[in-house]
């Protein structure tokens, strides 16, 4: 059995993030790390190391599903892993993210701050207890919007964790889809440069193993 590494405990960070955001919405800004780190790794490293090792959310879903046995552990429906659904969900997610950014822009240009967190893109939860004095209204508005995005994806992750396999969220996670797309493009570019395809690499490995 492999020993545990430091990154096996990143689920604690994810849990802290969700709890801290409930007490002070400005902690939502820390979630930018969960967006930027995988992109940086994919763009500059050409890998999905973030998904493979460092994703605290995935680890948390794994623990809840496997160790706490909250998952039915059933294979997800086929459509969930289809390209049209994954890229469609990514497009929808980005569109809603863009709307959130537009809301932030409106507050930046003088619109009143809306102290609500939107869940599942439809349900506006009042979040009046949050203290946001001392920061620019647009900074607070972005935090409300971003925390809504993070909570929404957590709820979807928990739902699919319970219904299907623990880490079913990983199948359609927009960040995972985006980083895999970037890695695909990078791999294709490198293959074109090397004059060698991934399929050839795969066949060589299999031939060497047999």
């Amino acid at each position: 059995m492999k020993g545990k590494k430091w990154y096996d405990y990143l689920w604690i960070g994810e849990l802290c993030y969700l709890v801290l955001g409930l007490f002070n919405i400005l902690f939502a800004w820390l979630g930018m790390l969960f967006f930027t780190i995988p992109l940086v790794i994919a763009i500059f490293g050409g890998s999905k190391a973030y998904c493979n090792r460092y994703c605290g959310r995935g680890q948390l879903l794994g623990i809840l599903g496997k160790k706490l046995k909250l998952s039915r552990n059933q294979p997800p429906p086929r459509f969930l892993r289809s390209a049209w659904f994954r890229y469609g969900f990514l497009a929808f997610f980005m569109f809603m993210f863009g709307r959130m950014l537009y809301g932030t822009w409106k507050v930046f240009t003088g619109a009143p701050l809306s102290k609500t967190v939107t869940l599942l893109w439809a349900f506006k939860l009042p979040w009046q207890w949050s203290q946001v004095e001392g920061v620019a209204p647009w900074v607070a508005q972005y935090a409300f919007g971003f925390f809504g995005v993070m909570l929404t994806s957590t709820i979807l992750g928990l739902l699919t964790m319970m219904l299907f396999r623990p880490r079913s969220w990983c199948v359609y996670c927009p960040m995972g889809t985006m980083t895999q797309g970037i890695c695909r493009l990078k791999a294709k570019k490198e293959e074109a440069k090397d004059g060698r395809t991934g399929e050839e690499d795969c066949r060589t490995a299999q031939a060497a193993g047999q």
Binding site: C51, R165, S168, Q180, C183, C202, Q206, G209
Partner: protein, 68 residues
């Protein structure tokens, strides 16, 4: 006694999450360039741990067709 060994095969819809690589006791499966998981046939013992761990359920066990 004849025994048909199995080999893990990764489907085209692999999302490269790396859960298979994390559970493989032989290090026979790894994520290739963030694109998809790849199985090294010589190392795979067909235990099926990767197939059980795959959240997308795209890993299947196939007959290797090798006799021991």
């Amino acid at each position: 006694m004849e025994r048909i060994r199995k080999l893990a095969r990764v489907g085209r819809e692999c999302v490269a999450c790396g859960q298979c690589a994390a559970v493989c006791p032989r290090g026979a499966i790894r994520v290739w360039r963030g694109v998809a998981a790849r199985v090294e046939a010589g190392l795979c013992v067909g235990c099926g741990l990767c197939a059980a761990a795959c959240p997308a359920a795209v890993i299947t066990l196939e007959k290797r067709g090798e006799e021991t």
